[in-house]
């Protein structure tokens, strides 16, 4: 199936928005007192969020993880509300309760982001169960990293999802590092997707830096899921350009390795293809870039000018 032009434009926009959003965060988090807590970025991996979310419908849910920015932006989260939350401001999407790590955007069907590695898969099973229970034509995507696949909860979730033919897509972004451990130091199997065989579900290995390949594979998994054929495990091979977090000096990542993967950056790849095919012109591309730059600047302005919550607001929102 050819990918419609509108979808390609959507993906290019998602890629650029996530990249520019995180480029801004990379600088902002270095400024003392600007952004509280950790800063965990998905720079270089944006094609997974962009491609998967382009394959989804509004009624589809996503459960994200600590490296969530591209997922949430691609699913349609408001950059201003995200930025304000990352700044710890009251106008943030979670009123300053979550910060950058646990961003929840239920209005775009991203009900929770969990930073507990392996926390997502069981919740995705439950979210997908609700879709099956209500006979919705909808799926739940669970974004995890390679590290999460060594948690017991991942295996419990895959087994149950397969047993009940739940409409889940387990999306593993294998960025080659779990903390400071390179993939082969934590997993013997050559591919994470191989593990799907143990749960009698399809396991697919895809180039995670190719947004179009991501879109196609996610679309196929979605079609299977809504047809009642159950879950899929997709392993997207990609690379973590930055450290685990911004305080990580990346002493364990060879410089040549980083450079080699940067040469496969998903943005120029899709951009060049679209320019060559005449799907976008230089002028329109420039307009898209300018528009995104303005969105990011406006998000930062909004976050900076927003008030912090009052201390007593900490007591709110524990119970419904």
């Amino acid at each position: 199936m050819p990918i419609p032009k509108a979808k390609k434009l959507e993906m290019l926009r998602s890629l650029l928005l996530a990249r520019r959003f995180e480029e801004a965060l990379t600088e902002l988090c270095q400024i003392e007192g600007k952004i509280p807590g950790m800063m965990i970025l998905c720079t270089g991996q944006e094609a997974v969020g962009a491609g998967v979310c382009a394959a989804l419908q509004p009624q589809d849910a996503i459960i994200s993880n600590h490296r969530s920015h591209s997922h949430l932006l691609a699913k349609g989260a408001d950059p201003k509300a995200l930025m304000a939350e990352i700044f710890g401001k009251r106008t943030g999407c979670n009123k300053g309760k979550s910060g950058t790590l646990h961003l929840a955007v239920p209005e775009v069907n991203a009900p929770c982001t969990t930073t507990v590695v392996g926390g997502g898969p069981p919740i995705a099973v439950g979210r997908a169960f609700a879709q099956q229970y209500r006979q919705e034509k909808a799926v739940t995507v669970c974004f995890i990293g390679d590290g999460a696949t060594n948690e017991g909860s991942f295996h419990e979730a895959l087994n149950l999802a397969s047993l009940w033919a739940l409409p889940v897509i387990f999306v593993c972004e294998n960025n080659l590092y779990a903390g400071a451990q390179r993939f082969e130091e934590h997993t013997r199997a050559p591919n994470i997707a191989d593990r799907a065989a143990g749960y009698a579900m399809p396991g697919v290995v895809v180039d995670g830096n190719d947004a179009l390949a991501v879109y196609t594979s996610a679309s196929e998994a979605r079609a299977r899921a809504v047809a009642g054929e159950g879950p899929t495990l997709i392993e997207y091979k990609t690379y973590r350009w930055r450290g685990h977090g911004e305080s990580d000096l990346q002493l364990y990542q060879p410089k040549e390795e980083i450079a080699a993967w940067q040469a496969t950056c998903p943005i120029p790849k899709l951009r060049a293809e679209m320019l060559a095919q005449g799907l976008i012109g230089a002028e329109a591309l420039q307009a898209m870039e300018s528009d995104i730059a303005a969105i990011v600047q406006e998000a930062i302005r909004f976050a900076e000018e927003s008030p912090y919550p009052e201390p007593h607001e900490a007591l709110e929102d524990v119970f419904a």
């Binding site: 849910a61 459960i63 943030g92 999407c93 979670n94 009123k95 300053g96 309760k97 979550s98 646990h102 929840a104 239920p106 209005e107 009900p111 929770c112 969990t114 507990v116 392996g118 926390g119 898969p121 069981p122 919740i123 995705a124 099973v125 439950g126 979210r127 997908a128 169960f129 609700a130 879709q131 229970y133 739940t140 017991g152 909860s153 419990e156 979730a157 087994n159 149950l160 047993l163 009940w164 709110e316 929102d317 524990v318 119970f319 419904a320």
Partner: protein
């Protein structure tokens, strides 16, 4: 008034709520087809009546069971999931502690998690410490969870119905031995609000605060002490979180003496919390130091004499009362 055992009363609550609300579903290990066949067990007959779409037998996967509840609840369903025994809470605890309890807060109040986790607790059936380990204080220590521990069939029914309708995660702990104890249950719909203690027996001399199976122990002691003209007021907390401080404090202000009784082990047990509330808010009314009667700080042993030694008894409770009278 009907007479039901607690297991049957829980069964009635589940049945009524499933009939009332199509979003209520059950999941757990052996809740449909199980290894035990007693009609007195809480989920007996529900698979037959509601079908496999709503009564979900799961693999032995506590993390997936609890995660199923979290993910289904945020989508608006009303999951009632079962963790077979309280000690297996550990296997489900990431989903309960880090997710069910925290995700509403992390959403800034946008999402809610209306789920119930039922767990069996209690020593007394010789299974030893990996099946008998009362961990209610762990759950109570996690903001975002409500914790309910009924002592009678009527309370179990009314509280479970409230728990299922509550928009928050509720940890509902059922003592296995109580499943088989009969009691009166109203024929008409019974709803008991979460967070309301009950004075089971009035008394003038000493307050005993307790919950779950230990309520029976307290009432037995109260009967015996009554023959000596000692008036023991028995307060059944019923809900640990939120705690009904008003009923607790009113009783202590009246009697001036307090014993907290629970089956769980002593150090870090919930008696410490009850005691602290009383010390902070009713210290001036205390006429004697308070006492705790609890399990000793040991894993629950298997051998009958050892297990009996572990369990708090009416004798131990009466001894504690006499110390402070």
């Amino acid at each position: 008034m009907q007479t039901l055992r607690m297991g049957q009363a829980i069964n009635q609550a589940l049945r009524e709520e499933m009939l009332r609300d199509p979003d209520v579903f059950l999941a757990g290990e052996g809740i449909g087809v199980g290894i035990h066949h007693s009609p007195l067990l809480p989920t007996a007959g529900l698979l037959k009546d509601f079908g496999a779409g709503r009564v979900k037998d799961t693999p032995v996967s506590e993390a997936a069971i609890a995660g199923l509840a979290v993910g289904a609840a945020v989508a608006g369903l009303r999951p009632v999931v079962e963790i077979m025994f309280n000690p297996f809470f550990t296997l489900a605890s990431d989903m309960i502690v880090n997710h069910a309890a925290k995700l509403r807060y992390l959403s800034g109040g946008k999402s809610s998690f209306p789920l119930v986790v039922r767990m069996k607790s209690g020593a007394g059936f010789g299974a030893g410490c990996q099946h008998s380990h009362n961990l209610e204080a762990w759950a109570a220590h996690c903001p975002g969870l409500k914790v309910v521990m009924p002592s009678t069939p009527a309370d179990a029914k009314g509280l479970l119905k409230s728990a299922i309708r509550d928009p928050n995660p509720v940890i509902f702990i059922e003592d296995l031995a109580l499943y088989f104890v009969p009691g009166p249950v109203p024929e008409e719909e019974v709803m008991i609000p979460i967070g309301q203690a009950e004075v089971k027996r009035p008394g003038k001399d000493v307050t005993v605060v307790t919950w779950s199976k230990m309520v029976g122990v307290a009432l037995e002691a109260a009967d015996q002490l009554a023959r000596e003209n000692i008036g023991m007021e028995v307060v059944d907390l019923r809900t640990l979180v939120p705690m009904d401080k008003e009923t607790l404090l009113a009783s202590v202000r009246k009697t001036g003496r307090l014993v907290v009784l629970h089956e769980a082990t002593r150090t870090g047990g919930f008696a410490g919390e009850v005691a602290a509330v009383v010390m902070e808010e009713a210290f001036a009314h205390l006429q004697a130091p308070l006492r705790r009667v609890t399990g000793p700080d040991i894993p629950v042993p298997a051998s009958p004499p050892l297990e009996r030694f572990y369990l708090p008894s009416a004798e131990k409770l009466m001894a504690a009362v006499r110390e402070i009278l």
